[in-house]
């Protein structure tokens, strides 16, 4: 059993805001995360059966595509999934060795590989399937929120963001302090009705998803004018005869 840090007033809660209105499922977040973290603090991210059947590797970001609703009224949804850095992180409290921990200073949930015994209890505890087990090393790995990027003084300030946010071509991913109501990400969540995944679990995930924007598609055309049953071409063109078009 590992303890969670006590929340303090104004607690910093770094996390992601992911816009389902503009995620086109291009996999940029998945592969850019993979290449950063392949040589990042949890390196490597192994790929098993890399060139044969059953290829499967360790990924901190995965994008799922599915359909919701029936027929033309339905939607195709691209749903990026990664660690949500929960406030009530069951993956932490279940950890028998203290390997899984949540940082007091920014809320990031990390794994200390030296303490991890590979029991995978955290993976069972995580409701979101965000844990990635490295079978080769026998340790659990996971999204670090690119803790080796966001404070990295070797990276220009504008790019000190998680790799997935930096690379996202549609701008569907945002990073910031969701504990600060005045932060850009908090304002975005408020403006767009951002929601948390599976609130009934009471894991209090930090990450938020933004729902698709609602565009009302009228069922019928607004009555421009009655559709003529037969067009009188000559008289229609007469309208244009009267237009003298001076440059």
């Amino acid at each position: 059993m590992t303890c969670l840090p006590e929340l303090v007033p104004g607690q910093k809660k770094l996390g992601l805001v992911i816009d389902l209105d503009t995620c086109v499922g291009c996999q940029s977040c998945a592969t850019n995360c993979k290449e950063w973290n392949a040589s990042g603090m949890s390196a490597p991210l192994p790929d098993f059966n890399a060139y044969s059947a059953g290829a499967e590797g360790v990924w901190f970001n995965r994008v799922h595509s599915y359909e919701a609703g029936e027929g033309a009224a339905g939607k195709t949804v691209h749903f990026p999934r990664s660690c949500l850095h929960c406030e009530n992180a069951a993956c932490v409290t279940v950890c028998p060795t203290g390997a899984s921990y949540k940082r007091a200073e920014d809320g990031i949930v990390l794994v200390d590989a030296d303490k991890c015994i590979g029991c995978q209890l955290c993976a069972w505890a995580c409701a979101y399937g965000a844990r990635e087990f490295d079978e080769d090393e026998g340790v659990m790995k996971k999204c670090t929120l690119c803790v080796d990027r966001i404070y990295n003084e070797n990276i220009p300030e504008a790019q000190r963001q998680p790799a997935c946010v930096n690379s996202c071509p549609t701008g569907a991913r945002h990073f910031g302090d969701l504990g600060d109501p005045e932060s850009d990400v908090s304002k975005l969540v408020a403006a767009r009705g951002g929601f948390e995944l599976m609130p009934e679990m009471d894991y209090k995930p930090v990450n938020r998803y933004l729902p698709p924007r609602k565009h009302v598609v009228p069922e019928q055309g607004k009555p421009v004018e009655d559709a003529p049953t037969a067009l009188d071409i000559k008289s229609s063109l007469l309208r244009f005869m009267d237009k003298v078009l001076t440059r």
Partner: protein
């Protein structure tokens, strides 16, 4: 039990070196920064300063490491030692490889240069490869545009002087309504993604007309699940509605299009349908006060409708009249097209009303003064903020050329071309319509270069590449009566025609980066048959096949000589201003690649090899007067080659001081200047040149000065296409050059000077009753235009494909997900698994393209899902239309020769329960070339962090 938290290095180094270059994981040409440690790639990120991608990077680009270190990389030149296709090779030295190639090629060039067919695939160096082919003296050159985008290129370049994708883009910063047609994923990749994000953030509407609701269509505010191949008809119904409801920007039409130009009406006459012109050949318009005067008269008061008598007594009518007559006809009414398109009439009307509302009631006015070509000063720029985008889904039909033109006509009716908020030209476009001289290729002679560009622009029958009897001059029959505007060539017909020795046999097939024995062929089985066919004398039908590829693709075993290429991170390269540069609506630009990784194999950049072959063959442009090589390598060529005085492959940093744009003496430091600038050059247009480029005096003047356009004249958009009418007149019996009898009716019908819609040719020519479903493909965004299947990361995301069909239809056939089915077309059958879905047109099935791989290729084990479950729809597509009276045409657009991949019709039947759950058809497992190390079971790719 909280323990001490471990030490974290918050500021690890990103490596010891960072280099900029240009991505080549697809055709998008994004700027990247490659971080290296000890010469190995640690991380690839988007370059924030780059104009194309502005720092972002897609799923492919971010997986470039796995392509760079793919086990399928070829390692040395190979010479075939067994039968073709058996995959028996021996490694040879470059000296030997170049000797062999030079021997074959010099003989061909000395005897009949046409017998070299030089076809390059997704080639971004066409300004070199095309030039090399002309120097060699063969007309038989093209790249992959003929099976990708030529309908869009030709449709645009002959209509508005630019085109969707390559030479134009939506005004992503200002458009309020985006209408995207057909499969358009990743043409181009990141700019569209960035743009859709921006458009949606500011509350604009995005409507997608596409049979399938995936990718961009998934985030569209409205999805219009049209039936494949009917987009043109839908567009013309929009035109009908705009005309009917008087939502037409007549001022735009009168100023910027040929709507007021007078067309001679003389049915049966040799001048019927041609423009009325004055003695100097200038097109005439009807001025209310002055009658017929040159349309370019600055103070013209043009009439758009009516019929007029010219001074010489002939009758003429304005283009607008002809257009309006056609599209206001009942056959284009929404009610008339609804069933064909699969879109209710009310919905078509509503969409027409929506775009009209945005264009005319929500117009944008910028307080930006500018001056037009007539010297008139305008205080503002008024824009119609409706933008269109279209690409492959329109292009890959045999009615795609006209469908593309139909879209452009709707844009012109809305006044939505290069205005604020609309579709905009990417500089250096617009260019004159058409943009260049006719294609070179006539009079090929031994040891003699062709003068001019091989892929260029016919204006009429005299410019076609045909013999006096109408026989095609090119092996692929591009620029013949079968494909008069075959601007990109017809790579999909080369091997089939060579196999049939029609119009003649060839000696050497020389290919680069084109997987013609697999997913790049319309019918891979037939290509394999022809490449391995022997004639009666025992010689191969195509005696020599030379192939350059960086990887062990399915085509490698079918070549006699393999010239192994470098990867995109290992070479100098150029996205040349002479080809398809990275210009945007913000200004012209071009870019380079620099080597960021040293090859660890005995491979050479194809372009450098080609330049050396050019010198060995004594091609004049590649040889000095004393016979020695003119260029050391591709980098030397990029710096020092001049196509015309002062104009070279790269437009930036020219002149001795590197301060000249477009035109200037070669600068020995040019490549270094590019490197210092992030491997690109760009000229940012001043605000007064940003819009109305086709008629913007300052823009046209500056573009002319930079050598980007030949003159400063207004570029008048062509609703009525006179070149098409000239082909049609020839078909009607006029002029010295006329189509052969078996093509006469076809040319007359399809070379219509106004956009038309017709049922795709293949569907007209066979009984489609047994094949009720349209079948189309698309590439997933993480693989589009990418050699992706050996990429260890990308193949985990998509390693096999299924056939998607509408749930209701699948359930009616008793199908459930993962059932195995036979897919049958007139051309054959294949076996695959199905998946039912909601977001697909009910009369359509589709799959991801090019996921299926031949067993053994790409160093994937034969049990890989790509080979056991993945499939190519290509196996049931034909490269031929059904034969008629002993003659068969290519399965292609009758105007451009564009491969008609998406015209396919199929049936789907559940497999018997006892059938093997493996895809079919299959071929023998390919054997890797010698010395290629086996692929590892497990990857633990990491650089520099842990020991």
């Amino acid at each position: 039990m909280p323990g001490a938290e471990p030490h974290i290095d918050y500021s690890p180094s990103l490596g010891d070196t960072v280099k900029t270059t240009t991505c080549y994981m697809c055709a998008c040409r994004c700027g990247i920064k490659v971080h290296l440690k000890d010469g190995k790639v640690r991380y690839i990120e988007g370059n924030p300063d780059h104009p194309v991608n502005k720092g972002v990077l897609c799923g492919k680009g971010s997986a470039g490491i796995m392509t760079q270190y793919a086990p399928a990389r070829l390692r040395a030149p190979l010479l075939r030692v067994g039968e073709r296709g058996a995959g028996e090779f021996k490694e040879i030295s470059w000296a030997e490889a170049l000797d062999i190639a030079t021997g074959w090629l010099s003989k061909v060039r000395a005897e009949d240069p046409r017998r070299l067919a030089f076809f390059t695939g997704r080639d971004q160096s066409q300004s070199l490869t095309g030039f090399w082919a002309a120097q060699f003296g063969t007309p038989n050159f093209a790249a992959h545009g003929g099976f990708c985008s030529v309908n869009m290129a030709a449709g645009g370049l002959y209509t508005i002087g630019g085109s969707f994708w390559e030479f134009g883009e939506p005004d992503w910063d200002r458009c309020k309504y985006l209408l995207m047609f057909g499969v358009a994923e990743d043409h181009d990749s990141n700019p569209i993604k960035i743009g859709i994000g921006k458009l949606k953030a500011r509350g604009g509407k995005f409507a997608s007309v596409n049979p399938v609701r995936t990718g961009y269509s998934a985030v569209a505010d409205e999805w219009i699940g049209i039936r494949p191949g009917t987009d043109g008809l839908f567009a013309l119904a929009l035109a009908h509605e705009l005309l009917r409801t008087d939502h037409v920007d007549t001022a735009f039409l009168a100023r910027y299009t040929n709507a007021p130009w007078l067309v001679v009406r003389n049915p049966g006459g040799a001048d019927d349908g041609l423009f009325a012109r004055d003695a100097e050949g200038k097109p005439l318009a009807w001025d209310r006060a002055r009658g017929a005067i040159p349309a370019a008269t600055p103070d013209l008061s043009a009439v758009l409708a009516g019929s007029y008598t010219l001074p010489d007594g002939r009758t003429a009518v304005p283009v607008f009249q002809l257009m309006a007559e056609r599209y206001m006809a009942p056959e284009y009414a929404p009610e008339a097209v609804a069933a064909t398109c699969g879109i209710p009439a009310a919905r078509i009307k509503r969409i027409a009303a929506e775009i009209a509302d945005v264009a005319f009631n929500q117009a944008i006015t910028l307080d930006q003064p500018w001056t037009d070509v007539y010297g008139r000063h305008h205080e503002t720029m008024v824009g119609r903020p409706v933008a269109f985008h279209a690409m492959r889904g329109i292009s890959a039909h045999s009615n795609g050329f006209h469908s593309c033109r139909a879209l452009h006509v709707v844009q012109m009716l809305l006044g939505a071309v290069d205005t604020p908020g609309s579709w905009r030209y990417k500089s250096p476009f617009p260019r004159p319509i058409p943009p260049g001289p006719p294609p070179a290729g006539k009079g090929a002679r031994p040891n003699t270069p062709l003068v001019g560009n091989i892929l260029s622009f016919p204006q009429g029958p005299d410019d076609l590449l045909v013999e006096d009897d109408g026989t095609p001059i090119r092996i692929d029959k591009a620029f013949s009566w079968e494909a008069p505007l075959g601007l990109h060539g017809m790579m999909h017909t080369v091997i089939a025609n060579a196999g049939a020795e029609d119009p003649y046999s060839i000696d050497t097939l020389f290919m680069f980066m084109a997987n013609m024995a697999w997913n790049s062929a319309m019918n891979p089985g037939e290509v394999i048959r022809i490449l391995t066919e022997r004639k009666a004398d025992g010689e191969y039908r195509i005696p020599h096949v030379i192939y350059s590829d960086a990887f062990f693709s399915e085509t490698v075993p079918y070549a006699d000589l393999i010239l192994p290429d470098t990867t995109y991170l290992e070479r100098w390269d150029a996205i040349s201003i002479l080809d398809r540069p990275i210009g945007s609506s913000h200004g012209p630009g071009d870019s380079i690649r620099q080597p960021v990784v040293q090859p660890d194999r005995d491979v050479r950049a194809f372009q450098t090899v080609l330049i050396e072959l050019g010198a060995r063959l004594g091609l004049p442009a590649f040889t000095k007067e004393d016979g020695s090589p003119r260029f050391k390598d591709y980098a030397d060529y990029l710096t020092n080659h001049q196509r015309s005085p002062g104009v070279g492959p790269l437009a930036g940093f020219r002149g001795p001081d590197g301060d000249k744009k477009g035109v200037g003496e070669p600068n020995p430091d040019q490549l270094q200047r590019y490197v210092e600038n992030g491997c690109f050059w760009r000229h940012e247009l001043p605000p007064e040149q940003s819009y109305f480029k086709h008629a913007n005096a300052a823009y046209l003047k500056d573009s002319k000065a930079m050598g980007l356009i030949p003159n400063e004249n207004q570029i008048v958009m062509q609703i009525w296409s006179e070149p098409l009418q000239k082909f049609r007149l020839a078909a009607q019996g006029h002029g010295a050059k006329q189509p052969p009898e078996h093509l006469r009716a076809r040319v007359e019908k399809y070379c219509d000077p106004l956009p038309i819609w017709y049922t795709p040719l293949e569907q007209q020519m066979h009984d489609t009753t047994p094949f009720p479903l349209s079948a189309i493909t698309q590439r997933p965004m993480h693989m589009y235009h990418s050699w992706g299947s050996m990429n260890a990361w990308l193949r985990q995301i998509t390693g096999s494909n299924k056939l998607y069909l509408a749930r209701e239809r699948g359930e009616a056939q008793g199908l459930v997900d993962d059932d195995w089915v036979w897919v049958t077309s007139r051309n054959g059958k294949l076996k695959c698994q199905v998946k039912l879905m909601e977001g697909v047109n009910p009369d359509t099935v589709w799959t991801w393209n090019a996921i299926g791989k031949r067993a053994g290729a790409w160093m994937l084990t034969p049990d890989s899902p790509e080979a056991t479950k993945g499939f190519l729809l290509n196996h049931v597509i034909s490269e031929w239309l059904p034969a008629q009276e002993g003659f068969r045409s290519a399965n292609a657009d009758p105007v451009t020769g564009q491969a008609a991949w998406y015209d396919l019709r199929v049936s789907v039947e559940k497999c018997a329960v006892d059938e093997v759950p493996l895809t079919a058809p299959t071929w023998d497992t390919l054997t890797p070339p010698p010395e290629l190390p086996p692929a590892p079971d497990m990857l633990r790719y990491t650089v520099g962090v842990k020991p």
